[in-house]
């Protein structure tokens, strides 16, 4: 068990971040903190992809740099670059909505909003 934690600590971090992100997103009443929770959740997934790409002793897959392998898989890095762009756009839309909600209701507390809403 200890051995697993020491050699696979990246995956432990992924699980922790996923948990923290979901917990913030579900339990926090503040809408901005919910958005932060969403970001933490996504970051955990980014870390997961990058970790799967890692090869012990591998070199970067760039012509003229790596010798003859083994190479680190470059594909997950590219995918995550795209996913980060998606994440930034989502955060931008979320924050725009938060600004609109605050200017309409003067609060970001989910419970208060729910009472106003119904």
């Amino acid at each position: 068990m200890i051995d697993l934690l020491l050699t696979r600590y990246n995956y432990v971090a992924v699980v922790l971040l996923l948990g923290i992100g979901i917990y913030m997103l579900v339990d926090n009443r503040n809408l901005v903190k919910k958005v932060i929770g969403m970001n933490v959740f996504q970051t955990a997934i980014f870390l997961f992809f990058i970790t799967t790409a890692y090869v012990e002793g591998g070199s970067p897959a760039i012509v003229g740099y790596g010798g003859d392998g083994p190479f680190v898989s470059p594909l997950p890095h590219v995918l995550i670059l795209t996913a980060i762009v998606v994440g930034v756009s989502l955060t931008a839309v979320a924050l725009a909505l938060v600004v609109r909600i605050y200017s309409e209701y003067g609060t970001l507390d989910e419970e208060v909003l729910r009472q106003l809403y119904d």
Binding site: L75, P76, R100, I101
Partner: protein, 499 residues
């Protein structure tokens, strides 16, 4: 030339989506004509693609000239061509509604076209990561569209939709990560070939299945992860409700079918019965819970939203059974539901503008006050219940037939009961519209409904809006008898999918 049509279907709405914003610099009335032109072009392309697929078979396109499985592949088979055509036709139809119903900002039309691009991309892509990107494009456009109305509560609903929807999409992405770790590929056809080598019962594959199906279930809005959906549908502007209720969950359900049959394949469902059982149970629970929640609503749009939870339960149940008849039924119901639910939401918009009624009590005696809207609403509601010969009947018939052939007797009971449950909430509406006296104008419920209806500047109802509602009702009835023809056209695709 025909080889390029799948990619043109995505490029056209994205490029056209930039134009309303540019045109907005000189004119604030240019958005609608640009959107109509783009959607007419889109419908033409989708029709062409459908014809080509029906005559020549599957068409695939390698984006940027990189050969699959290394590059991104777009694949159009009978199924994706049908859904692409549905998207184009519904988006064009709803534009007829938008002209008067609004919103009319140029940015609205940019988002509208972006949504169409995202949905079409999800339909034709043959790559699981590409599907994630289009899922998020669709999501971003849908969140912004929900918030595009003047009602402040829409922003709250849109933020909830955004947060829940992002978690769904992220779970899907995590599942894709597991698939990539297991097989080293992202191409759907390649995954289908490599997953048996890894072993269907490997933990990686099973986890990937759970995460992907769970993520897409959020987007489809199955119970219990439907919570974003009623608020989003009920607070969005009427034209947006009609569009997204018809298309967004529909295309997510299509993506679920694509993942089930083109990536995991029927072999996986046979090899891992627990996956099939879990999917069936989720679908059955969704059918029942959605109906019960729909019956308990007082707001018509919320009732329609919960009805979608139930109807998508039916569709996913058809996919889970995975016999040819059930899958055909699920696809017919998917398309039929899009037409019927879009039409019903459009009808509620017309009714709200005509009479101010938004609650179920407000619909008392509606046939006298808004006869055409009430008539269309009733036809669409009965079609949804499954009265022959409407498309709702044909879809459910095939799903039940497929479930019987698949030996899923528990599911058959749920499916038949679901018809009664659907009747429970729609028959009540029809009864109120036709056999209950209109409310006293001084009645507080009705004035409350008026106040809730809000914006007097939204008041006008154009013939175009009514035409959209009536057309949806006519199509819902007319599609039913044409199903055998459509079934013949997509039969080859279904056979390939279920091999």
């Amino acid at each position: 030339m025909i080889d390029h049509v799948p990619v043109l279907l995505i490029v056209l709405p994205i490029v056209a989506g930039a134009l309303p914003l540019l045109a907005g610099l000189v004119s604030d009335r240019a958005g609608w004509p640009i959107a109509v032109l783009a959607m007419v072009g889109q419908t033409g392309l989708a029709g062409w693609l459908g014809y080509a697929v029906a005559t020549e078979g599957t068409i695939s396109y390698e984006v940027g000239g990189f050969a699959a499985p290394f590059g991104i592949e777009l694949v159009a088979d009978g199924l994706s061509a049908a859904v692409a055509a549905l998207i184009a036709v519904v988006a064009l139809g709803v534009l007829g509604y938008v002209r008067t119903a609004g919103p009319r900002e140029d940015s609205f039309f940019s988002l509208y076209l972006l949504l169409v691009a995202g949905l079409t991309g999800m339909t034709v892509t043959g790559d699981v990561f590409n599907l994630y990107v289009f899922l998020e494009i669709t999501g971003l456009a849908a969140y912004a569209l929900v918030a595009s109305g003047r009602r402040a509560s829409a922003a709250v609903a849109a933020l909830k939709y955004l947060i829940v929807g992002t978690v769904g999409a992220s779970l899907y992405l995590l599942g894709v990560g597991y698939l990539l770790a297991a097989t080293g590929t992202l191409n759907m056809a390649d995954l289908a070939a490599k997953l048996p080598e890894v072993g269907y019962d490997s933990t990686l594959v099973l986890t990937a299945f759970a995460l992907i199906v769970g993520g897409l279930a959020v987007k489809v809005a199955l119970f219990p992860v439907h919570t974003w959906q009623p608020g989003a549908y009920a607070t969005a502007p009427d034209s947006v409700s009609a569009l997204i209720s018809a298309l967004v969950s529909t295309v997510a359900a299509y993506a679920l079918a694509r993942i089930l049959f083109s990536v995991f394949t029927v072999e996986f469902l046979r090899a891992v019965p627990v996956a099939q059982t879990a999917l069936t149970v989720v679908a059955a629970v969704s059918v029942v819970a959605g109906s019960v929640l729909a019956v308990s609503q007082t707001d018509v749009q919320r009732m329609l939203a919960y009805s979608s939870v139930s109807q998508f339960g039916l569709v996913v149940a058809g996919f889970a059974v995975a016999t040819p008849a059930a899958v055909v039924g699920a696809l017919v119901h998917l398309v039929g539901h899009a037409v019927m639910k879009g039409g019903l939401f459009a009808a509620t918009g017309v009714v709200r503008r005509r009479t101010g009624a938004t609650t179920i009590r407000g619909y008392d005696g509606l046939s006298a006050r808004a006869p055409v809207a009430a008539g269309s609403f009733a036809v669409l509601a009965l079609a949804m219940v499954g009265v022959p010969p409407a498309v709702g009947f044909v879809g459910k018939w095939y799903i039940v037939l497929g479930a019987i052939r698949g030996g899923a007797w528990g599911l058959v009971v749920v499916l038949l009961a679901s018809t009664l449950l659907t009747l429970a909430y729609f028959a009540r509406m029809v009864e109120r519209m036709y056999f209950t006296a209109p409310p006293d104008p001084a009645d507080e419920e009705d004035t409350a409904a008026l106040a809730d209806g809000g914006d007097p500047t939204d008041a006008p109802v154009s013939p175009g809006m009514v035409a959209v509602v009536v057309a949806a009702a006519l199509v819902a009835v007319a599609l039913g008898p044409t199903v055998p023809i459509i079934e013949g056209a997509i039969d080859a695709t279904i056979q390939t999918l279920l091999q």
